[in-house]
Amino acid sequence: MIKLNRKMAAAAATVLAVATFVIACSKGGGGGTPEPTNPTGFDKTAMLTNYADALIIPAYTNLQTQATALETSVNTFLATPNATTQAALKTVFKDTYLRFEDVSVDQFGPAETALFNNFVNTFPTDSAVIEGNILRGTYDLSANASISQQGLPALDYLLFNPHAVTDFTGTTATNRKKYVQDIVSAMKTRVSTVLNGWKNTYRATFIANTRSDSGSPIAFLINQFAFEMDQLKGPRIGWPFGKQSGGTQYPNNTEGFNTGISVALATENLTALKNMYNGGGSGKGMSDYVVSLSKQTLNSDVMAQFDKALSALRAVPDPYTTSMTTKKPEIEAAYREIQILLTLIKTDVASATGVRITYQDTDGD
């Protein structure tokens, strides 16, 4: 027993010595002498602060302002539904939808808790169930099952379908107006919930966590970039075009179908994504992190590919449902560029930053 103890004591002493040595060394390198610019280091806290304060919170604030403007415009239309008020409303509605595209990539933290994107932008909307809700006058907009009965796609249908104006003067007018007001106010509440969530608690959590493992802000950002690219390639552009279905097209499944603004929305979505990737050009974005990891070429390729994909998208005119028959080569080209960008982000950027593309947390080796 004595022999055992002596060995243990020797072992413990050595561990202690090594630990002291390590701590002493790192002190000398990190804090002893002022070292303002680490030649290869990168300030992740500054990057995350930039994302929270300069990009994410302002984007939700803009959406909140716009949602209030939408409410006013909706009420004006509902008071006197005619082609003129509808046209005025359409401009405001489009702006609101565009401001949503700016936050679409931020589905983590408070937005994920609130299932924000699901409630605000599940498309195609379920017009049959919506009409049923209006007839009955009873519905529960807080239920998870109701995501396809509300949000922007539901408004797109209710306010801008071909018979929208007459609907608001018909027999169901009272219930219909109430339904519209209910989903506008539900949406407004959701925006406020997410924005307050960011301001009150999540901002601090977000900035403080500079890890890269699953569930960390950095992993969330990279995963969401990839996810939004997947959404762009699939539901926004590829699937309605018939990519999944042997060429059979589904125009009704496009985003912003009745307002005919699908390409504008997709373009804004991708623009916002590019802006997120390069941190708004502040020098404190994911792009700068990638550069700091000695991946200069990769980063410039990604930025160039964003521009390529954007200009390919812009070559497709709205309404997308018309372009789906008249501009097939342009759509195919945009689809290809989006796919290249998706691969760059999902494979090269993820690999360079050591982030796993999966929300699932498991062991690995």
């Binding site: 060995k7 020797a10 390590v22 390198g29 280091g41 042997g246 699932q360």
Partner: protein, 444 residues
């Protein structure tokens, strides 16, 4: 030599090992359950990537899988207590291995290791001292066992370390310090050492230390003089650091710390057990003998077993091409945290008679984890392609042909096309032959 291996020594190391292994596996099972991984990995998926030759292995549904994990937990408790030991180890081995065989996605080196160790435990008399079996049937009590019964655990651990070390002897690891150079900057949040994570020399230090450690640690553990320092400084230091730096590897560091403990001498373990039980000495000398017939065949069984253990990690030599790219002979070879590989796949199903094509949304068929694992491993890509052919045939597509566009980034290099996009994957056979449809690897 053979005689030396039969020399009776104190049973204590086997008993310590039984108890520690049982405790660790109980904790691991509870953790797995508590994390919701039973549902996530064995209930939620709609499709499972089975192993070649084990296509008959299927999960048993939510209820069934939880029952199996309950059974595994029960077995670990029985192993700790040494109650119905032989039955418990057999059941544990079968249940644990069955679960691991359900889906290639979940392959981990240390799960394979646990299967192997539990197989060995079936044959070892680890319940003959300090166990409920002995309490109930006192005649079973033994205080000494042949040296080899402890030796095979040490040999198994030594093989793991040594092959893990050999695997690190590659240019990327040693000359480029990759993947460490990629992974360490993601650890800059760590206190004290965080700022060092961007330094190139740290990546080299980690790589070289890891390689040297793996190659030689078993030899220093065998040597009586170097053993205490090898274990208490290096084994504990190394694995505790890996647990801190790479929490994603889960139970692995703990498995190795527990198993390496078996290198300590019988006297050492006896003292340890006495310390905890308050016993003095070893008790009456009762030597364990295997039944005569078994004693004849055991050398053959374990001889074969260890031949396989050496041959399997070497099988990659039979394949042409870059091992990390093709991954032919990669699994079951103690290649732990050896490369950074990510990929992205686009599958298209085509109907030859109509020329129509259908792009596949992987999320419809795979969990995010399955999708990620499949995207870089050729055998999984092929198995998935076959599954797609089946599904689309059921959907009414005649003679579906499956084409894959796959991009893979290896060890921080840029992504490159991985699979020949002109090959109908549905027509490629699933076997152990070299994959002709994987595009050759070339240094950029």
């Amino acid at each position: 030599m053979f005689k030396q291996l039969q020399r009776p020594v104190s049973i204590a190391p086997l008993v310590t090992f039984r108890i520690l292994f049982g405790l660790m596996m109980l904790a691991g099972t509870i953790r797995f359950w508590a994390n919701g991984w039973i549902t996530q990995q064995y209930v939620a998926p709609k499709f499972y990537f089975t192993y070649m030759g084990f296509e008959w292995v299927h999960p048993f549904g939510a209820m069934g899988m939880h029952v199996i994990f309950g059974l595994i937990a029960l077995c670990t408790a029985l192993i700790i207590l040494g109650l119905f030991y032989r039955l418990a180890t057999m059941l544990f081995f079968v249940a644990f291995t069955y679960v691991e065989l359900i889906d290639v996605t979940n392959y981990l080196n240390h799960y394979y290791f646990i299967s192997l160790v539990s197989f060995l435990l079936i044959w070892l008399p680890a319940n003959r001292y300090l166990s409920l079996d002995v309490r109930i049937w006192p005649k079973l009590k033994r205080t000494q066992v042949p040296l080899w019964t402890i030796g095979i655990i040490r040999l198994q651990v030594g093989i793991v370390y040594f092959f893990a070390g050999i695997a690190k002897l590659n240019p990327d690891w040693l000359l480029q310090a990759i993947p460490m150079k990629i992974w360490l900057p993601a650890k800059s949040h760590l206190p004290i050492v965080g700022a060092l994570m961007y330094k190139t020399w740290v990546a080299y230090l980690f790589s070289w230390f890891g390689a040297v450690y793996d190659l030689f640690i078993a030899f220093f553990l065998i040597n009586r003089k170097t053993r205490p320092i090898a274990y208490y400084i290096f084994v504990l230091g190394f694995h505790i650091s890996t647990a801190i730096f790479f929490p994603g590897i889960g139970m692995f560091p703990y498995v190795m710390m527990v198993c390496s403990f078996a290198f300590f001498s019988s006297t050492y373990h006896q003292k340890l057990l006495n310390y905890f039980t308050g016993n003095t000495g070893i008790g009456r000398r009762l030597i364990y003998h295997y039944p005569m017939q078994l004693e004849m065949v055991l050398p053959l069984i374990f001889g074969l077993y260890f031949l396989v253990q050496i041959a399997v990690p070497m099988r990659y030599l039979a394949y042409p091409g870059h091992l990390f790219w093709y991954e032919e002979g990669y699994r079951f070879s103690w290649r732990v945290m050896l490369m950074e590989k990510s990929g992205n796949t686009f599958f298209t199903v085509k109907e030859p008679s109509t020329g129509k094509s259908y792009e596949v949304d992987n999320r419809e068929f795979l969990t995010p984890l399955q999708d990620k694992m499949m995207s870089t491993q050729p055998d999984m890509i092929l198995r998935y392609a076959h599954h797609l052919a089946d599904v689309y045939a059921q959907r009414g597509i005649k003679e579906p042909a499956v084409y894959a566009q796959v991009y893979v980034a290896l060890n921080g290099e840029r992504s490159r096309p991985f699979v020949d996009t002109t090959v109908n994957m549905a027509a490629q056979p699933l076997n152990w032959r070299h994959y002709s449809w994987v595009l050759p690897y070339s240094k950029p």
